[in-house]
Amino acid sequence: MFAGANARSWLRWLEIEDVDAETGVEFSAMVKRAPARRRPRKAKPGTKGLGPAECRLEQPTGAAAEAAEAIAKAGGCVVGSYKEPLAGHPVLLSVLPIDAVEPTPFQRDLSDAHHKRLADVINKTGRFLDPIIAVLAPRGGFWTPNGRHRLEAMRRLGAKSITALVVADREIAWQILALNTEKAHNLKERSLEVVRIYRGLVDEDATRPESQFAFYLDEAALVTLGVCYERVPRFGGGAYHPILRRLEAFTDEPLRTAPSRITRNGPRWCSTSRRRFRQQ
């Protein structure tokens, strides 16, 4: 190791407090480290929160009642109320006039591409199923700390109203980052998900045309990549994705036969992976 002045300079650089007089190195008191982040232990199953019956909230009181009044005043309606099952805070499931809801002013900028894509997806499904979270805004109306893109997507589609989980506690508006901890899917996760969906569709009814499910499967390339990831978990799919995306497309062939002739043009191709996929 180091000795003498050399060791001392290194240790000074490492912010080490004590140095052994004999060896010049002190291993015990060493580097000042940031305290480890402690995460609460995993709780025993079924030991926290409320049971289903306890979550029932017939009549909101206090701040929740005030929120219900504000909803009615804004032209919305409360369609249900409950205590959320972890800590029992009241939540009002409401339908709000879309013009009464604004995103919290301090949240991240709107992504043009994302909200348009979201609008396309909502339009295709024909349903709005994922209520936004809303709190009472300080000067009337409502703020959504987590739902800006859904709100804009619904506006884009010309909706009159939007479903919201109205939380009486206004402090939730400041917890934007905590509310947005959902992890986006990476390529591997998307591919594996798509190949599992594909398999499920084949099991259900393999005579239907593949192109009918383009919406569920997103991209034909993901099916191929999914098969590759299943066989080689550390497959570097990111390098091949642009090529496969350009060359592969869904066909009108039945799902049973489609994996072997999925290219946009040219002759049949049947990769090792696809052949294996069909056999499974």
Binding site: G238, A239, N265, P267
Partner: protein
């Protein structure tokens, strides 16, 4: 076919690493070098042909010609996208 190609690309990446080239984008770099679609503007050839060409190019990939500065301009998704 894709996995066959991946094997050949991995071999080229290994050789580059042995030559002391270090980058998280080595695989993307090799794939970009052997990708024939880079120069095709119109309708692309069938996937089977493209993969065949790429496999052949990967098999005869000359790592001696690659300089560290070539890698500096390489980008794309990191190899281990997990």
């Amino acid at each position: 076919m894709v996995l066959d190609l991946e094997e050949k690309v991995s071999a080229a990446v290994k050789k580059l690493k042995e030559r002391g080239l270090v980058s998280p984008y080595l695989r993307s770099f090799v794939v970009a070098r052997i990708n024939p679609l880079r120069w095709i503007k119109g309708e692309p050839p069938p996937l089977e042909e493209v993969l065949k060409t790429m496999r052949e190019r990967a098999a005869r990939f000359n790592v001696e010609k690659i300089k560290p500065q070539d890698l500096a301009g390489a980008g794309g998704p990191p190899d281990e996208e997990v």
